[in-house]
Structure formats: structure tokens, C-alpha cells
Amino acid sequence: MELGVTEGLDIRATLRRNDAFRLDIAASIPAGRTVALLGPNGAGKSTAVAAIAGLLPIDVGQIALHGTVLDDPRSDVFMPAEQRKIGVVFQDYLLFTHLSVLENVAFGLRSRRVAREEANERSRMWLERLGLKGLDRRRPGDLSGGQAQRVALARALVTEPDLLLLDEPLSALDVTTRADLRLTLGEHLAAFDGPRLLITHDPNEAFLLADEVHIIEEGEITQSGTPDEIRLRPRTPYAADLAGSNFIVAEARGGVVTADDHVLHVADPVSDGPVVITIHPTAVSIHTRQPDGSPRNTWATTVDRVERLGSRVRLRTGAPLPLTVEVTELARAALDLDKGSHVWVAIKATEIEVQVGETRDGVAR
């Protein structure tokens, strides 16, 4: 992947943390865009944050921001964290407990030798902008989760950084606050001119706030795309889980796709070789009798598991090919579907997404 963008963050980095873990990623974040790095815990997200922020040097590669090289081992360039103009909002916020809210927010400016008066002025302005007026003298310990998060954001933004880096900004909050703050955060992200990198494990955060999502698993980026692309065409089991999709590894031969000795009829021609099948749970219909219609893929099976999620229900069907199916509660009730029920499933060939390629560790390439 070549470095192209001069306006924005370019990162191409390999970092060995210890014997067990290696980070190997490449990404470009243009100015004015929000990019999310989405992955499970342990995937390497915090390592990526530390490397970009300048708290950890990389082993191989290059990090550049607006054309300025921040880290390049080959030319022995390493700009320490305090010189990089990156605003970071940390998981757990890391507000200085011995300083007041105002002192916290003004910290970056004061460290950069801005006079106290001006620093306080600008800090108060940001606090007000984030709806925290009047909290100047409070201590971080006295703030609610939502307030603390916004103070952390103000602290990062007041220094007018070139890049905004948010490390799991909402994960420390309870679900309701999280939903509220997601909106606020979205607004402020949009108002920030530079590139914005959002690190998270929460797919809602990523899909709702980001323009582009990179899925990171075990130190590597396994899929990149817009939220919709990932939702519709996940390429790894993890991505499929996020999207809630069914993910099946199969083999194509002579235009016929076989998965676990079961034949699936797909719409488009496909060349021989290993393939990855994704079927959205809502694309599967359930019948109590063998259906008589257009769907080419039908078979008899049993309901193994029923999961009620309010007005929706997720069913898991069993042999010959296990699937996750989503129906409405009304439908479930009408058909009296429960664990052990004998049903027929039907899937239109056009609803089956086929991605060609070898899978390595379950990742379609």
C-alpha cells in the first residue's frame, strides 16, 4: 500500500510488542474523514493508538501526518509524543485527578507555553461548547461519566491538533449515556477539520460515526470499507458476527457450490476454487411445510435455538447446514416456532453473497 495522502494521516507500520503479538497495519485517513479501527479486544487497537500518538516506536514502516514524517525507523526519524500535534481522547479519559477541570483542559496549552489567561479563556470556550459551562473548578472525581468524556474531548481539541485520535471514547459509559453521547461526539467529529481516527470494539460506534471502517484482528487489518459494505459483505467470521450475518466456508466446482456436503445454488457464475458464502439472517425464510416457490435453496431442518430480542427473534437451525435466521416475533408466534420444531428453510440464490478466494484462518482474501 503506498503512501499518498499529504493531507491526513498515513500509517504503514509493523510493531512487535512481545513474542506473542505483532501489529502489522496500513491505513490512510484523509482530512475531514472519520475512520474507525474496529476489532475485538487484544486485536492490537491500543498498540496502534500508542504508535500513532508517539508513545511507542514502530519497528518497520512509516507514520506521516500532513506529509511530516513522525516515525520512520529506516531513516532513524522518531518524533516524540510531545512534539506531535495529535489530540488523544483516551479510554478511561485519564483526566489529571489533582487538577481542576479547567486546569485539565488548559494543560495542553500551558505545556506549550501559552499564557495562563489565554489558555483559560480558550479552555472555557471549549467547555461551554461542549455543554460543560460552570464546571471549571470541579475535580475529575466529581464528574459523571458523560461529563468526564466531554472534558477529555475538550482537553484534546483545545490544542487545535492536526489529528484527532479517540481510543474507545464511549466504552467506559453505561448504555444510555453512550447512546446520547454518540450523537454529541458525532457532531464534534464532523466539526473537526482534520483527520479523525476512532478506535473501538463497538460496531455501533464504528458504523454510526465513521465514514470508513477498518476491521483489525490479531494485529492485522482484515477488511476495509464503508460501514454498509462491511455489513453487507463481511469477509471474516468476526465481521460477520458484527453484521449478524451467516458466514460459511465452501468450495465451488463446475458452477456448483458445496458447503459441508450440501449444495447451494448461487446466482452468479463462479469459478472453481474455495469461496466464502455470506447469507444475511433476514434473507432466510422459514416454512412449516416444504415450500413451493422460486427459492432454489430449500431444505428440511430443526430449530436448535430460539433467541427473543423484543419484536425480533433469532433462530438457529441445525443440520444439514446450520444457519442463523431472523424473523419477527409475530411470525414466530404464528408458526409456533420453538426449540425442536421441524421446519423448512428457503433462501433465494440472489440473496447468497459469494466471495471468491482462499480463506486463511477464516479470512477471505
Partner: protein, 270 residues
């Protein structure tokens, strides 16, 4: 209307009886000697004894020396603790061992070592004496050196422990906000270990205030110049018991005042 006990007390319950017994036994070990001391105080002559020049000289020397030792311990001990905690240099564990040595050695041995190093015929003392004319033994500065020697390890150990246990992510956060290493130290690291630093300094002061063995071995014993309160007590015991008891009372009173003033802050250090 009789006030009722808050219901909360019902759930707290009494501590186990064995703990109370053992705790009281432990407490008595400390309380009984003080009661014994109080019993010997010549209350009627106390004011006269306390204003005698022996006592006032000793008190002045003790206060000056212990405060000086504490100040030096902070000035030199904190940087040393920082190096031990934050940097990895060859021989670090040896350095840490050496720095802890005064805690383990009998103070008299420490005093003897100081004499061998900084005495008039000492390894460093001789050349220093010839070059600058400075003679540390038998001088007030000698008292300061001796008390600093035995007390500084308290500062170093407390501060090193606090630095190791603090959450270093805050220093990283400060760095991303543009703080230089010095600013991080000044505005984040030190304030965050503030409570521990304070209790370390108090321990240092307390040790310096009560120091005897190294002082008498290195600095000698002369009223007004090197005879601190502990030395005055010791010498007074031989013949002027009442003076000795009076001085002991002064020491106990001063120490208790300082320690009680700090109250819970002592234990609440992060």
C-alpha cells in the same frame, strides 16, 4: 427522646475477640513505656529543666539537623528514586541495595563508615580537608551528614515505590498534550505521588530527629555544637536523670505532635 443507634452499626458487628486481645497486647507494648516515662517526670521542676541551656541547645540542634536532613533527602533522594524507578541502568539492583543499606546497618556502623570516608583521615575527608579546610566530624554539619545518611533511604524507598505503583498512562497522556519531560515530572508525576512523598519525608524527618548512633560516632558530642536531643538524653542519664527524663518528654511531645497532625494522611497516601 433517646437517640437511637444508627442501624448501620448492627451490620458492622464487633470485631473478633481474639483480634481485640492481640491488638490491645500490641498497643500496650507501646503505651506502657510511655506511661513509665510519664511516671518519672519531675513535674514541679519541669519548666526549669526545659528552659536550661542544655535542653534549649539540644532542641535547637535537633530541629535544625532533622529539618536540614529532610531537605537534603528530598533534594537528592527524589531524583535518585526517580532514576531507580524509571530508568534501567546497569547495576541498578546494586545501587538500590547500597541505598537501602543504612536501614539495615546499625547506625553506629554507619557512623563509623562515615568516619572512615569523611573523617579527618578519611578516604575523601583527608583530601577535602587539605583542599578546603573543611572538617566534618565534631561539627554541626557533621550532624547533618550523619542524620541524612541514616534518614534519606526512607525518602528514596517511599518515592521509588510510589513511582513504580503509579499509573504511568497519565504521563503518556501528558506527553500527547505536548508536555516536555520536565513538565510531565513537575505537573503530573510529582503531584500524583504527592501523598507518598509527604509520608516519606515525614518518616525521614522522624528518623533524623531520633538519630543517635551515627551522630555520636561521627559528629561527637558537644553541647551547643553537636549534642542533639537524643545525645543529651543519653549523657544525662548517667547523672542528671531528671534532665534526661525532661528531654525525653520533649522528644515524645514533638514527635507525637507531628505524627498526629498528619493523622490519616499518613495512611491515605496512594
Amino acid at each position: 427522646m433517646t437517640p437511637t443507634k444508627p442501624r448501620r452499626d448492627k451490620t458492622a458487628g464487633r470485631p473478633p475477640a481474639l483480634l481485640i486481645v492481640l491488638g490491645c497486647l500490641g498497643l500496650s507494648l507501646f503505651v506502657v513505656p510511655f506511661v513509665g516515662l510519664l511516671g518519672r517526670v519531675p513535674w514541679s521542676e519541669l519548666s526549669g529543666l526545659l528552659t536550661s541551656d542544655v535542653v534549649s541547645d539540644a532542641l535547637r540542634l535537633s530541629v535544625v539537623a532533622s529539618l536540614a536532613a529532610t531537605a537534603i533527602s528530598m533534594l537528592l533522594g527524589v531524583p535518585l528514586a526517580w532514576l531507580l524507578a524509571k530508568t534501567d541502568f546497569p547495576g541498578r539492583s546494586v545501587v538500590r541495595g547500597v541505598v537501602t543499606l543504612p536501614l539495615v546497618l546499625p547506625p553506629v556502623v554507619g557512623g563509623a563508615a562515615l568516619l572512615f570516608a569523611l573523617g579527618r583521615r578519611g578516604l575523601l575527608g583527608e583530601p577535602i580537608g587539605e583542599l578546603t579546610g573543611l572538617v566534618l566530624p565534631f561539627s554541626t554539619w557533621g550532624v547533618v551528614v550523619a542524620t541524612t545518611f541514616v534518614a534519606m533511604p526512607f525518602t528514596i524507598i517511599t518515592v521509588e515505590g510510589a513511582l513504580r505503583n503509579m499509573d504511568t498512562r497519565f504521563e503518556g497522556a501528558a506527553a500527547t498534550l505536548g508536555a516536555s519531560r520536565w513538565t510531565v515530572l513537575r505537573r503530573v508525576t510529582l503531584p500524583m505521588i504527592g501523598p507518598s512523598l509527604l509520608s516519606g519525608l515525614v518518616l525521614t524527618w522522624a528518623r533524623a530527629f531520633g538519630e543517635f548512633g551515627a551522630t555520636i560516632t561521627f559528629a561527637g558530642n558537644l553541647q551547643g555544637r553537636t549534642q542533639t536531643l537524643p545525645l543529651a538524653v543519653f549523657v544525662g542519664l548517667e547523672s542528671e536523670r531528671d534532665t534526661a527524663v525532661a528531654i525525653s518528654l520533649v522528644m515524645v511531645a514533638v514527635s507525637l505532635a507531628v505524627l498526629i497532625t498528619l493523622r490519616d494522611r499518613w495512611w491515605n497516601s496512594a
